[in-house]
């Protein structure tokens, strides 16, 4: 390759790198600009310690958290929460490190919990552990990541599991591993 060819190749590479660098800086700048807007949209209204809420009847569900962040859009973030769910006279106690939910007129929705979640169902001696839990509706919960369920004489591990509180059913999917003492 002669000098001209080498210079042309060098110029093309330099142009490409410049364009790439500028686009990278712009995307980072855009990200930095959009973060405060997102925070503004959520708008933290209050920070509550010893947060406690329950359903209108006070029987369907009850939630307690050591700390809660309440936002303008009615979304709430909880730290170290305990959630009691009553379904067909069966009590399920759910606890974990953090949860996000929406509360409107004491109607609960979009409940998602993360970090060392435990579910205890006293009726069936059920103990379940996971890292991520989503309440699909008041009768169903989806468990994801490190699912472990303990029943007397039975231990079950899987990738995902769904608990149907109303029907007292648990469905496991993905690499189901279980140990049964017989």
């Amino acid at each position: 390759m002669n000098f001209r060819g080498f210079a042309a190749l060098f110029l093309i590479s330099a142009c490409f790198l410049t364009v790439y660098g500028v686009s990278l800086i712009y995307s980072k700048y855009d990200q930095l600009q959009s973060t405060p807007a997102e925070m503004k949209k959520r708008n933290l209204i209050s920070e509550i310690t010893h947060f406690k809420r329950s359903s209108i009847s006070g029987r369907e569900w009850e939630i307690y958290a050591s700390k809660a962040f309440v936002y303008a859009d009615k979304s709430i973030e909880l730290a170290n929460f305990a959630f009691k769910l009553l379904n067909k006279n069966h009590i399920y106690s759910i606890a974990g490190e953090s949860a996000a939910l929406v509360l409107s007129d004491t109607e609960l929705s979009n409940f998602k919990a993360e970090g060392n979640i435990s579910i205890i169902g006293e009726e069936h001696n059920l103990k379940a552990f996971t890292q991520v839990l989503t309440l699909v509706d008041k009768s169903k919960a989806l468990m994801e990541q490190e699912v472990l369920v303990e029943l007397p004489n039975v231990l079950i591990k899987s990738l995902k599991a769904e608990i149907n509180f109303a029907e007292s059913k648990v469905s496991f999917s993905g690499n189901v591993w279980s140990k049964i003492n017989h």
Partner: protein, 159 residues
């Protein structure tokens, strides 16, 4: 001195007994793996589906589906395996193939049904049902037993 020796001996016996209890308890565990599992806590039933593999003491079972019922204290009452049932006695390589297998926890016996056959090396036995006793670790063939045994390159069919 004699008393100390007695105490040591007693402790050693207790330790050995505890060790045996642990070993025996471990032997009663079954490891069951599958793609999916559904547990109905009210009806006390469960169903494994998709590439089901059961591993117990000296036994391995493969099938498509495995249904079971447990008692109030979560002890298995009965297990029903269906679809491409393949039972293997690990220690001697004896295999049992069939369409269905029923395990009764009271009798500790597995009954293989649906054109079951025992295979060991080149030899095979066909019957109406083949029973494997988990306690004695012995197979029993019942009803219209037909054996095909190879001996010194000769074939014998036994009714």
């Amino acid at each position: 001195m004699c008393g100390l020796k007695l105490i040591i001996e007693m402790r050693l016996r207790i330790f050995l007994l505890a060790f045996l209890v642990v070993i025996t308890a471990e032997r009663h565990d079954w490891i069951i793996q599958a793609d999916n599992l559904g547990v109905d806590l009210s009806k006390e039933t469960f169903k494994y589906q998709g590439s089901v593999r059961v591993e117990g003491e000296d036994i391995q079972l493969r099938c498509d589906r495995l249904e079971g019922k447990f008692t109030k204290d979560n002890q298995i009452e009965q297990l029903i395996a269906s679809g491409n049932v393949h039972l293997l006695k690990i220690s001697d390589g004896t295999q049992v193939l069939g369409d269905r297998a029923v395990f009764d926890n009271r009798t500790k016996k597995v009954t293989v049904l649906g054109q079951p056959r025992i295979l060991k090396e080149k030899n095979s036995i066909k019957a109406e049902e083949i029973i494997y006793d988990l306690s004695t670790k012995k197979f029993e063939a019942r009803g219209s037993v037909e054996s095909l045994i190879f001996e010194d390159n000769k074939t014998q069919t036994l009714p």
